[in-house]
């Protein structure tokens, strides 16, 4: 049997994932809030024919102290709305998938559903979303919909996120593909029998529907989530197409993978299994030792040795290619690479790593499929509300 294809994603965030990345020689710290910067980054990733980029986001200002503001002036602070960044970039790219982070905790599923559907129209079938749960009292106090003094159990936040995903998916299906008929004889623009109330009622909210936005090109844009523990694993098993995991060695990789598969069974998942992506923070340079030295310089500027929830890799393109091949075990779709520094490590992925993988026959040379779902081997799903009966 041929080796299954390797999938690669790039996770973009600010100036990169190292806290001192903005001080790197080739960083663009004055442009972090400009369209040009994001357009260039995604164009560079598309040059490397990677499957998709994610764009990180949060409703709170960055802080080194968990859930509390810090007083640092030496770190990047501030970020743009990730959905809008993705949309701004969409017309300037043609094939790469665009997966912004959206928070499920305080926001309206109706709004997020139509914004991701619209991103799918704007990008002609390349949209996805990474759902994020917020347990931060800071975000609660800023949003104002809930009492920040009232702690919501974490399991509830993930149950709410699962409901959120269910609602956005139902809204995407609330228009059948052929609902727009433009029938001049009867004067009807739509066949209203093909528009559906979703009538969702859960513990946290109720949404009636239908969406104001017709079913997007992919039918169901890609839903993804980052997961480290049981609650998010279950969320991913219940509602996501793609999950990002953070094992630090192969044993852990196997353990998380089998845990995910048992969650899939437990929640009664049907259809396509989760596509599992392993997250890695990467510092990548051509010459041996160069990437480690570059990371060490950034560590020195930061006065901390950089660690992450994901494994941190420093090395050459061949070393990283070997690592990816070794970890590309059965059941793992691929990897999401978090550039240690942007744009440096995005370019290194596209211009150094990808050619090595291509030379080894491990990675595509060009984009074949037009939509993001198709690239991941996910078909265009049937509409849950369509009866299939000719009317």
């Amino acid at each position: 049997m041929a080796t299954p294809p390797l999938h690669l994603a790039v996770a973009l965030d600010g100036a990169g994932w190292h806290p001192a990345a903005w001080r790197a020689d080739d960083a663009r710290p004055h442009e972090l809030f400009s369209a040009r910067y994001w357009v260039d980054l995604v164009a560079e990733a598309e040059r490397g024919v990677v499957d998709f980029v994610t764009i990180d986001d949060s409703l709170a200002l960055q802080s080194l102290r968990r859930g509390v503001p810090d007083d640092r002036v030496d770190k990047v602070r501030g970020r743009l709305d990730a959905v809008l960044v993705a949309s701004r970039v969409a017309p300037t790219t043609s094939r790469i998938g665009l997966v912004p982070v959206a928070t499920t905790t305080h926001t309206e599923p109706f709004h997020i559903s139509k914004s991701i559907a619209t991103l799918d129209y704007v990008s002609e079938g390349r949209a996805g979303v990474q759902v994020r749960v917020s347990s931060s009292a800071v975000e609660t106090a800023q949003f104002g919909r809930r009492d920040p003094n009232e702690a919501v159990p974490v399991d509830d936040l993930f149950d709410e996120a699962a409901d959120f995903v269910e609602v956005i998916r139902r809204l995407w299906d609330s228009w059948e593909d052929d609902a727009e008929i433009r029938d001049k004889a009867t004067g009807r623009f739509v066949d209203r029998d093909k528009l559906h109330y979703i009538d969702f009622e859960g513990r946290f909210f109720a949404v009636r529907g239908p969406s104001i936005t017709p079913r997007p090109p992919q039918g169901q844009p890609l839903v993804s989530a980052l997961a480290h523990v049981t609650a998010p694993y279950r969320l991913a098993a219940r509602g996501a197409d793609v999950v990002y995991i953070t094992p630090h060695d192969l044993d852990e990789l196997h353990r998380i993978h089998s845990e995910l598969r048992s969650h899939e069974i437990e929640v009664g998942r049907t259809g396509e299994p989760l596509r599992v992506f392993v997250d890695l923070v990467v510092f990548l340079d051509e010459r041996p030792g160069e990437a480690a030295a570059r990371k060490a310089r950034l560590d020195e500027l930061d006065e901390h040795v950089f660690r992450s929830d994901a494994l941190v890799f420093t090395g050459t393109p061949s070393e990283l290619a070997a690592h990816l091949e070794a970890w590309h075990v059965e059941g793992i779709a691929g990897f999401r690479l978090r550039p240690g520094a942007q744009p440096h490590d995005v370019s290194a992925i596209s211009r150094l790593l990808v050619p090595v993988l291509q030379a080894r026959g491990s990675f595509r040379h060009r984009y074949e499929e037009r939509t993001l779902r198709a690239r991941l081997g996910l078909g265009r799903p049937a509409n849950r509300y369509a009866t299939g009966v000719a009317r």
Binding site: A24, L59, G78, T118, G144, D191
Partner: protein, 465 residues
């Protein structure tokens, strides 16, 4: 009176989900594919328009308990389309309607600040309110807002958003990699708002955008709406009527500005208007008749009549006479998702009958006549003349043009009318500024505190008086 001629402002309204938009025209394209938005926005930019305007709807309209199916149905998310249009235009302002009832200030302030960054200072927000429980069924909060509080919430929403935009100074980001200083001072974006509608505090997480605040639009003809606009808006999206009506509205609104320490130039009055062009006056008039018949089909005429009668009239012949029975205002409203038109249905029915009798009109002919939107109809020279006149005699500062066909409905205007306005010297040949605020001739954004002091208190006394 001598004063320099005013410069005309023009904008394009993406055709909406109402019967003004003719989807049955052979040239009518998609209302949802991005290419239609690109085409219309790029035409507007070619014509040096100030901005492109996108409306919003949060629940599909219903009539007789079913989704209204005779007009265009379905539209994209406003913010997402505007952000994408920033990629295919350079100067055009990007204006969107965003509801202050089914959103929260932190999120909307973030989205507009992001759009302003991503477009290099071209964002504009048409602040609207809504209260109906029908729309609320799509949202977490539901139909929670008493109708009487909707302006209060809108005012406080906008005020809170302004406080968030002001929470970062222009020079907050130093980004000096050698010194290791990213921020000029710790804890940027601090805000605290404790009001009747919103009680929030924390740090805003988008640095100050090129315009500071997006350009603020307000629609609404009511006294309360006018006062809200005078206190807080940069532009009014008004209804276009006769020259006299326009002048009266213009005078009234501009007069209110002084109360808030603002000069008349700080609020632009931009009525929405449709247009029908022809090579001759007769040809334009003929086209206008044809378009009106497309806009008001038989079934559409019956639906309009139902708005007044509040009864199921689907069995009536639209080419026949008005019903001989009376409206039923006591029944539950048959129309949901937009404002009901008739305040006194018996009086309205009486007027309809008198007009129909006097002119011998069928239901459809009557509806074509009475639902007509104010429109410029004529040759390019006539329309250029009319638009210029409205602006020069202070019935408007410009117009938001509503083409009736997507996406090519603006082409003829751009090709034939705009050059005539330019020849008159009353319309720009090229964009002069990089931000929408600049192109509209507006001053830089004022700080939130200036609106807070003058705005809310005075507006309250104005509406109570």
């Amino acid at each position: 009176m001598t004063r320099p001629a005013k410069q005309i402002h023009l904008a394009a309204h993406f055709p909406g989900v109402n019967n003004t938009t003719v989807w049955s025209d052979p040239a009518a394209g998609s209302h949802i594919e991005f290419s239609s938005f690109v085409r219309l926005a790029q035409t507007a930019e070619r014509a040096k328009f100030d901005f492109f305007f996108l409306a919003e709807g949060l629940r599909l309209r219903e009539q007789r308990g079913k989704v209204h199916d005779l007009d265009v149905v379905g539209r994209p998310d406003t913010f997402t389309v505007l952000a994408a249009l920033a990629a295919v235009t350079e100067h055009l302002g990007l204006a969107g309607t965003i509801n202050s009832t089914f959103n929260e200030p932190f999120e909307v302030a973030r989205q507009f600040a992001s759009l302003d960054h991503l477009s290099g200072g071209r964002a504009a927000w048409n602040v609207v309110t809504s209260w109906d429980a029908f729309t609320g069924e799509n949202f977490r909060r539901g139909g929670f807002l008493p109708q009487s509080e909707r302006y209060e919430r809108a005012r406080e929403f906008l005020q809170t958003a302004r406080e968030l935009w002001d929470s970062w100074d222009d020079d907050e980001i130093v980004a000096d990699p050698v010194a290791g200083t990213f921020l000029r001072r710790p804890r940027p974006g601090r805000f605290e708002h404790h009001g009747a509608q919103f009680d929030i505090a924390g740090q805003f997480n988008v640095p100050r955008s090129p315009q500071g605040h997006p350009v603020i639009f307000q629609a609404g003809d009511s006294d309360e709406g006018r006062e809200f606009a005078a206190a807080t808006a940069d532009a009014i999206f008004s209804r276009h009527g006769t020259l006299d009506d326009g002048q009266a509205f213009y005078t009234d609104v501009k007069r209110r500005l002084a109360r808030y320490g603002r000069s008349p130039d700080e609020l632009k009055i931009l009525p929405a208007a449709t247009f029908i062009l022809g090579d001759t006056e007769d040809e334009a008039a003929e086209r206008a008749v044809l378009v009106r018949r497309q806009q008001v089909s038989g079934p559409t005429a019956i639906l309009f009549l139902e708005h007044v009668w509040n009864r199921d009239l689907s069995q009536l012949d639209p080419d026949g006479p008005l019903p001989d029975f009376d409206p039923d205002p006591t029944a539950p409203s048959i129309i949901r998702g937009r404002a009901n038109v008739a305040k006194d249905p018996f009086q309205t029915a009486k007027e309809y009958r008198e007009l129909a009798a006097a002119k011998n009109l069928s239901i459809r002919e009557l509806m074509i006549e009475i639902t007509a939107r104010p429109s410029f109809v004529g040759t390019p020279a006539q329309i250029a003349e009319q638009i210029d006149t409205y602006v020069q005699v202070d019935a408007a500062d410009g117009f938001i043009l509503v083409p009736h066909v997507t996406p090519g409905g603006l082409d003829e205007f751009a090709d034939k009318v705009v050059p005539l306005l330019q020849e008159r010297g009353h319309y720009r040949d090229e964009y002069t500024g990089s931000t929408l605020r600049h192109n509209l001739g507006l001053p830089p954004a004022r700080s939130a505190s200036r609106y807070a002091v003058g705005g809310l208190g005075a507006a309250r006394s104005g509406t109570e008086g």
